[in-house]
Symmetry: C2
C-alpha cells in the first residue's frame, strides 16, 4: 500500500486494534498517538480499526474530568493550560490536552501546533498534548475529539483539557463533550472586556479574566466586577451552579490555585446534585441523535442521484419561489422514490 | 365523512385551494380562517389542500413586517399587542396576530385564547387575531405558523405579530421566522429584572420594560439602565443593530409611539444594509434544511421496522455501553440495509 501519512501508522506489524489498545492500557504513549491518528483519519480502512478501538475503550472510559476551555487568540490559553497542567501534575494528576480547531489548517498551527508555547508541559511524562486534527469538517473534527477523549481516558488521564479558539460553532461542540466550561477573557486598557462572543458567555461555568498582572491588575478587577454584574441577568443554569468570575495571571502562575479550587467546587456540586452524571448521559444521547441526523443528511447530499434536485430546490427556496416546507416535502418524496432503487 | 373539527371546514361546497385563495385575495376573513385551519391540520387530506394554498400564496407573500414578541406570562403581552395594534391601525396599517404556544392545550388558552384581553383589537375590521394551534409538536406548530404568515401576507396585512409565551424552544422558532424580535420584561419591586430567560435576551432587537406606570415608573427606569449596561457585554449582532431598551406602559398606552419609532428605525437600518433581505433568505434556506432533516429522522423513528433497533441503541448509548458514533453508524447501516426493501 502506498499511503504516506505524516505519522507513519501502517508500518509493520500491521495495525491491530487489540494490540494497540493493549499498548494504551499499558501506558505506552506511542500506542496512544497511533490510535489517535487512526481516530482522526477519514480513510475507510483506518475508520474500521478506529471503531474497534473506540469500542474497546468505551467500557474503560469516563473516569476523567473533562474541561472545556475557550478564549480568543491572544487571551493566553496556552499559558493558562501550561500553568494549570503543571499545577495538576504537582497534585499527582495526569493531564491530557486536546483541541478542536477546524481552521488550524489555514492558520497553520495557531493552536497547540507550536508546543513550545507549553515548554514544560509538553515534555512532561505526566502530560500529553495533542494538536487539533488539521483537516475535515467541524463535525468530523468533533467526532474525532470525542472519540479521542475515550482513548485518553482508557490511557488513564485524570484531567482532559479540550481547547478551542472559538471559530464558528466549535465552542458549542466542546461544551457538548465536557463536564465544565471555562472561558478566558481579557480586560482592555479601559474597563471594557475583550473576547466575549455572542452566546458563549452563557455556557461558561467559570470566567477567568487573565493577564491580571502589573498595571493591568486593577483593570482586570474592574472587568471581573462588571462581568459578575452582567451575570446576574442570566438565570440559573441547569447545573444549579452560579458562574464564578476570577482574575488571574497565568504567566506569573498567580491564582491558579483559586481556579483549581473553583473547578473542584463545581465538580463536587454537580456530582452531588447528579447533574454531572445526567449531563454525561444526555450528552451521549445527543451525540447519537446528532450523528444519526448528520449521516442521513450527508448520505443524501453526497448521493449523486439527489445532488441536482437538492441544489435546484435550495435555490428556489432562497429566491422565494418555493416555500421551504414544500421544498422539503418534494425532496423527501424524491429521495424515497429513488432510495428503494440500488444505492449509489 | 365523519370528521368533527371545531371550526367546520369541510361543509359543502368541497374545499378547493383555488377558491379559498381567491377569497383570501379578496379580503374575505372567513376564507382566511378556513385556510389557516387547514394549514394547522395534520390530516392528510387537509395537508394536501394546505400545500396547494401555500404554493399559491408564496408569490404573494413577503410584504409585511414580521415582528416576534416574547415575554413570560404576566408581563403584559396581550395589552402590549392591543396597544401596538390600535396604534398601527391609526396609521392606516392592517395588523395580524399569530401565536406559537405548543403548551396551550394544557394551559387552556393562556395565550390569546381569551380574545377579550384584546377587547378593541379583536373586533376591529383592520385586525385579525389567530390563537396558537392547540396541539401538535413544536415543530408542527412552528411549521403551521410559518405557513400562516404566507397566507396572512397574501391577505394583505402590513404587520404580523408572532407571539410566544416562551415555553421550551418556541422563542427560537419565532425568532427564526421574524424580521425583528421584541422582548417584554418587568422590573421587580427591587431593581431586579423579571422575565429573562437564558439565551433569549441575546435574540432581542428591542427590549421593553413594561408596566412603567405609577410607583413602578422609577424601578422600570433603573431596570432599563441596568439592562442597557448588561447589553454592553454582547457583541454586535449580525444585523449591525444595537439593541434598544425602552420603558413603557402598555396599559396606559404610554410610549407606544417610541416603540413604534424604534421598530421603524430597525427596519430602515436592516433594509439599508441588506440584512433584512439576506436574513429572510437564510431563514428560508434554514427552514428547508431543518424540515428536510426533521422529516428524514421522523420517517425512521416512525417506521416500525426501525423502532426497536433505535430504542435499543439509544439505551445502550445512555448507559455508556456503546459510543454514540458507533451507535449511529450501526443505526445507519441497519436503516440502509432495510430501506431498500419495500417501505413500511
Amino acid at each position: 500500500m502506498a499511503i504516506k501519512p505524516k505519522i507513519s501508522i501502517n508500518k509493520r506489524p500491521p495495525l491491530d486494534a487489540k494490540i494497540l489498545f493493549k499498548g494504551i492500557q499499558d501506558g505506552k504513549r506511542e500506542a496512544l498517538s497511533k490510535a489517535l491518528t487512526l481516530v482522526e483519519s477519514t480513510k475507510l480502512e483506518h475508520r474500521k480499526i478506529a471503531k474497534e478501538l473506540v469500542q474497546l475503550a468505551t467500557p474503560h472510559s469516563g473516569s476523567s474530568i473533562r474541561i472545556g476551555i475557550t478564549g480568543v487568540p491572544g487571551v493566553g490559553k496556552s499559558t493558562f493550560i501550561e500553568s494549570f497542567g503543571l499545577f495538576a501534575i504537582q497534585k499527582q494528576k495526569k493531564v491530557c490536552v486536546l483541541a478542536i480547531d477546524p481552521s488550524s489548517e489555514i492558520s497553520k498551527g495557531s493552536l497547540l501546533g507550536d508546543k513550545t508555547r507549553m515548554e514544560q508541559l509538553s515534555v512532561h511524562s505526566d502530560a500529553y498534548i495533542r494538536p487539533s486534527p488539521t483537516s475535515g469538517t467541524l463535525g468530523g473534527v468533533a467526532r474525532a475529539t470525542r472519540e479521542s477523549i475515550l482513548l485518553c481516558e482508557a490511557f488513564g488521564f485524570d484531567y482532559l483539557l479540550i481547547e478551542t479558539v472559538g471559530v464558528g460553532q466549535s465552542e458549542t461542540k466542546v461544551h457538548s463533550m465536557t463536564d465544565i466550561f471555562l472561558m478566558l477573557l481579557l480586560s482592555n486598557a479601559g474597563d471594557e472586556i475583550q473576547g466575549i462572543k455572542r452566546g458563549i458567555m452563557e455556557m461558561a461555568d467559570i470566567l477567568v479574566v487573565n493577564k491580571a498582572d502589573g498595571e493591568n491588575k486593577r483593570n482586570a478587577k474592574i472587568a471581573a466586577n462588571q462581568l459578575q454584574q452582567a451575570l446576574h441577568y442570566f438565570p440559573l443554569a441547569k447545573s444549579g451552579w452560579t458562574p464564578a468570575v476570577e482574575t488571574m495571571s497565568a504567566l506569573n502562575q498567580e491564582k491558579i490555585d483559586v481556579i483549581w479550587s473553583k473547578i473542584q467546587q463545581f465538580i463536587d456540586h454537580t456530582k452531588q446534585n447528579n447533574y454531572f452524571e445526567n449531563n454525561r448521559k444526555s450528552q451521549a444521547v445527543n451525540w447519537f441523535k446528532q450523528s444519526l441526523t448528520d449521516q442521513l443528511v450527508e448520505r443524501i447530499e453526497k448521493d449523486s442521484r439527489f445532488t441536482e434536485e437538492l441544489r435546484k430546490l435550495e435555490l428556489s427556496v432562497e429566491s422565494g419561489n418555493t416555500d421551504p416546507f414544500i421544498a422539503a416535502d418534494k425532496m423527501i418524496d424524491f429521495y424515497f422514490k429513488y432510495s428503494s432503487e440500488a444505492p449509489a
